[in-house]
């Protein structure tokens, strides 16, 4: 099984670098993953990551993009609640990149 090493710990990940267990996540993991992609996490990035983790705790799945956009608009204002803003933060796509940093698994099935 592939692993990543950061913060003095070893984390199991899947073939695409998603954490195997969302509960063992730490902020250091997110920072490490971002660094690998050449990204520096700003407060704006963290807002999204925190939202994703809160949502996941409640619903056991990452939110649909539309829900993410709407919720961000609700809590952080309409200037942030749009797909363009999210793609600027996460160029590889909020669904994949931000969820990976947040330690969440990728949804599967007819999606």
């Amino acid at each position: 099984m592939p692993t990543i090493e950061c913060d003095g710990k070893t984390y199991d990940v899947d073939e695409e670098g998603y954490l195997q267990d969302w509960q063992i996540w730490s902020e250091a993991v997110a920072g490490y993953m971002a660094k690998q992609d050449g990204l520096e996490l700003s407060e704006a990035h963290w807002e999204v990551i925190r939202f994703l983790r809160d949502y996941f705790q409640k619903y056991q799945i990452a939110p649909m993009i539309k829900i993410l956009v709407k919720e961000i608009a609700k809590t952080m204002g309409t200037e942030k609640g749009n797909t363009k803003y999210l793609y600027e933060l996460y160029p590889a796509g909020p669904a994949k990149q931000a969820c990976r940093y947040a330690g969440l698994p990728k949804p599967t099935g007819c999606v």
Partner: protein, 536 residues
Amino acid sequence: MPPKLPKPEELANVNYKPPKKWWQKGTAEIKEGFWCFGSRPKYLQAVDMPNPREWKPTDEDWKLPDNWREIFLEGMAERLQKYRSFHLFMDICVRCGACADKCHFYLGTGDPKNMPVLRAELLRSVYRKYFTPSGKLLGKIAGARELTPDVLKEIWTYAFQCTECRRCSVFCPYGIDTAEITIIARELLNLLGLNTDWIMGPVANSYRTGNHLGLEPHTIKSNIDFMLDDIETVTGIKVEPSFNRKGAEILFVTPSGDLFGEPGIYTCMGYLMLFHELGLDYTWSTMAAEGGNFGFFTSNDMAKKLAYKIYSEAKRLKVKWILGGECGHMWRVWNQYFDTWHGPADFLEAPVSPITGTRFENAKGSKLVHIAEFTSDLIRHKKLSLDPTRNDHLQVTFHDSCNTARGMGIFEEPRYIINNTCNHFYEMPENTIREKTFCCGSGSGLNAGENMEQRMRGGFPRANAVQYVKERHGVNMLANICAIDRATLKPLMDYWVPGVNVAGVHELLGNALIMKGEKERVIDLRGEPLPGKEGA
């Protein structure tokens, strides 16, 4: 990271010249972009399937059990006994080649092992070696070969490079159904724990929660509530569906992709609006919130196990019959397997439309009605007010999903709905639609991310036909009635035919449907301005 996808110009340059090397040798070349990750052990363990372990298709050592050959051959012997079709298909092919150029994977790759005849021959050669006197005696001369690790890897590679679409079977003079051969090949591979992560994840989720995505009951409700908010924004109407309501007349079941992904959710909004407008006495089940069945890409037993929840929920909720949404393989399973597995469903009633009184004679046995039949019957009886001009910005074509087309003959109903909800409809060429429809290239659980080159190549013939109507008629919308299509045709269009969008038929209906008491519509279900309402 997924392998880099070559540019369309490179991919379109397909070499059809067969290699000189004799195919029987068994080569295990597994190309980047053509395979999906092996299943994680936890998914196999979740459904008690054999040989869970970490493995990767490109590894030299697949960590097979010591007696893997015996397991495979015993499994084959058992299935030759059990399924006459399989036995027959192993024996009767005369290698006429009628199927050879009918497979989308062959057309998109030029790889001769993607000719249905040769794909089947990979397994047939093993059958000959161990199950026929001539093969046992004459070996290679009789087209027989030993089951070596390389042969096993080859069978795996091509069993997961077939979408079980059955286009080849339409052209076979013997009616050999290569999909059934692939299905059996996959069953045998499953005995060795050789399924993919993308298939086993949904299977494990489905076993636990009832749906592929693993949506919990409150997540389903929350996602639908989100859609209801959007419907209210578009129409001003508050739709209030019920969940797990005992005594409803109808249970509605659709693939969970419609509850989560775009553009599936717009199709789902179409269903919700239609049922509200009709005042239909129906309910959703949060347990049977999945019509699709990835178990079907695993084994007959697993598919049967995962399917049961639907009748079980219908029984628990005491409904009269079941209405099914837009999905492909769900309907193959419902139409061709349900009755055998779990029938007779005599705790339900023969379906009758409460709006038109139409008896769905075709569904008398299974009690499962396809929504395209249900809705086209409503339109036929003039029960819906429709304004097709709301779809005037769309030049629509229709992609027949393999399973609803070849698995149950749904051809006219979706076209009838489109023609009544859109003013501009254009057919793709005759040999690419209806029973000859080309696959999206990603069905049967191949809709993962890591095999994107395989998907784009497999979808090339379909994309090519869309390109044709785009050039001739300016087509910009590819309608369909399948959740896998809605998820996979969009990246296929973005890659081959940019500018063409993808929608379920009930999204088109939702936009055209004039609802009682609605406000003036200025945006469509996606929140885009309607034609002529851009400034509103």
